[in-house]
Amino acid sequence: MIIKGKAHKFADDVNTDDIIAAKYLVSTDAKELGSHCMESIRPDFAGKISPGDIIVAGKNFGCGSSREHAPLAIKGCGISAVVAKSFAAIFFRNAINIGLPFLECREVDKITEQDLLEIDLSGGIIKNISKGQIYKTQAFPKFLQDIVESAGLMNWLKTKREK
């Protein structure tokens, strides 16, 4: 799967309250949640996304609450993937379980705001088209790849139970 879009840069420790504030957790609709994505820390964020765009962040992305509304909001506002130095554990599993593409990349500091990126998810390769650079990342272990390839945990479970 190839993803192509502009980079939106964020700092370290972006938490799930930043991604979607609690007052919006009265909805489970991804589009609705997406319209408030990152509102507290970047009020105009949701309106600036073109489909395919990519969030690029520092360490510990998605720390804080377990709210699955966070990866849903990211998906819902049109973001196609998240690249970060590291991910908080619950966000990590939520992203796997709902099929939000993400990669851990140590070289995110080389990426600047609005760089055009092309991500080859299965190969774990990030091409920075604007800068002519290539960043290699660790592919997921097989267990997680199976869930991702099933398009999420519930589909994976259904397939497993039908076998």
Partner: protein
């Protein structure tokens, strides 16, 4: 192979011969928990995938506590979704307003979690039950939906990190200060994807309520869980419950990724400053931080000993003019006990309010939202931007004694100054 408590509990819930940190496993859980924010998505996913019957209605707990009592129509619908699902699936452990409490205080209080259990909850502070020698961790809504189907969950076995606390705690210093100090030392990702294990002579003497406060905030250091070896204090706490339990100890030669050892004899009450729980300072270092609101309660510090501590300082005093004091006990039984002991009266006479159990104020849900520019000292667990309301408000975190003292003086204060 030698193992830590975390590894032993996970291993006991798989059909594997052995496990090691970093490995992905599937394990059977003893309990799966959801609330009015996370369970509605789980129920939707469960039904969307075509499932009709939960694997075991005795192993599922649903607690509408976040936006309950319902703050508006939308949250009322979410709470109702839990009630409807509980009725449909005959889930006994559904706690309606009236018997509801903040989930991570409620479950241990009712004996729904026992030492040695493996518990998942679609709420990040599920790590709280580590205080009882259980392995408990926060997961997402889809994880909960999956657990509804077959009672299982996938785990990456975490490496363990040990924290040894030596010395003797000073007056006014407790579990909350130990965990804030720890997070201040290692950072909000200092234990990312690890199992924290709290040990040493200080922990061995710590009360259950203080242990809960510590384990509760393991997530604030990025950890999956924060485990304390179950001992005589734990045994006394669970004695009245009939369920079986298992008291695990880490092997003497178990592998820890890192071991921290601190003498905490000189530790002062700690305060986390905006906007991260790791931005920690000793209370006396904070000069003239004027407050608009003080909040005492939550799954971290809303237990009876927390309220007793706050009331001890507050008794016969008044809340500083212009400061809003909000006290919210964690469960109905804590509420009733506080009424019986006259603690509720102390808070109300001082000019504070005594709310029903709810997560409301802690996550900026309802019943105590901050306005732009307002400064709050809370005994809760997070002080992220906008956590308790306006993105332009400021949240400090402390123990209940500091919070009560600060409500009296109107600024962040060491308890000695107010007593």
């Amino acid at each position: 192979m030698p193992h830590t408590i975390a590894e032993k509990i996970l291993l006991a819930h798989t059909d594997k011969k052995d496990i090691k940190p970093g490995e992905f496993i599937e394990a059977k859980v003893d309990l799966a928990l959801g609330n009015d924010i996370t369970a509605p998505i789980a129920i939707e996913e469960f039904k969307k995938a075509g499932f009709t019957k939960v694997f075991d209605n005795k192993k599922i707990v649903l607690v509408p506590d976040h936006f309950a009592p319902a703050k508006d129509k939308a949250s009322a619908n979410q709470c109702k979704a839990l009630a409807d699902f509980a009725k449909e699936q005959k889930i006994k452990n559904y706690f309606e307003v009236g018997c509801m409490g903040i989930e991570h205080a409620l479950l241990p209080e009712l004996g729904l979690v026992m030492p040695g259990d493996l518990v998942i909850g679609a709420d990040s502070h599920t790590c709280t039950y580590g205080a009882m020698g259980a392995y408990s961790c926060g997961v997402g809504s889809t994880d909960l939906a999956r657990a509804f189907v077959d009672g299982k969950c996938w785990f990456k076995v975490p490496a363990s990190v040990k924290f040894i606390y030596k010395g003797k705690l000073r007056k006014w210093v407790g579990g909350k200060d130990l965990i804030l100090f720890t997070i201040g030392q290692i950072g909000v990702d200092g234990a990312l994807y690890k199992a924290m294990e709290f040990a040493g002579p200080v922990i061995e003497k710590l009360s259950m309520d203080d242990r809960f406060a510590m384990s509760n905030m393991a997530i604030e250091a990025g950890a999956r869980t924060g485990i304390i070896e179950a001992d005589q204090i734990t045994k006394k706490f669970v004695a009245k419950f009939k369920r079986k339990s298992k008291f695990y100890k880490s092997d003497a030669d178990a592998q820890y990724e890192k071991i921290y050892e601190w003498d905490v004899s000189d530790l002062e009450p700690q305060v986390a400053c905006p906007h991260l729980p790791s931005n920690v300072k000793p209370v006396r270092k904070l000069k003239n931080i004027k407050l608009d609101q003080v909040v005492i309660g939550s799954c971290t510090n809303g237990r009876i000993s927390d309220l007793r501590l706050a009331a001890k300082i507050m008794k016969g005093k008044k809340v500083k003019f212009g400061v809003k004091l909000i006290v919210f006990p964690a469960t109905q039984s804590v509420y009733l006990q506080a009424v019986k002991e006259g603690l509720a009266e102390v808070f109300v006479k001082a000019g504070g309010i005594f709310e029903t159990p709810t997560c409301g104020p802690c996550l900026g849900g309802h019943m105590g939202i901050l306005a732009e520019g307002e400064v709050c000292l809370a005994t809760t667990n997070r002080n992220f931007i906008g956590r308790m309301g306006s993105p332009k408000s400021f949240v400090y975190l402390s123990n209940p004694a500091v919070a009560a003292a600060s409500a009296v003086t109107g600024r962040i204060t060491h308890p000695d100054e107010a007593i």
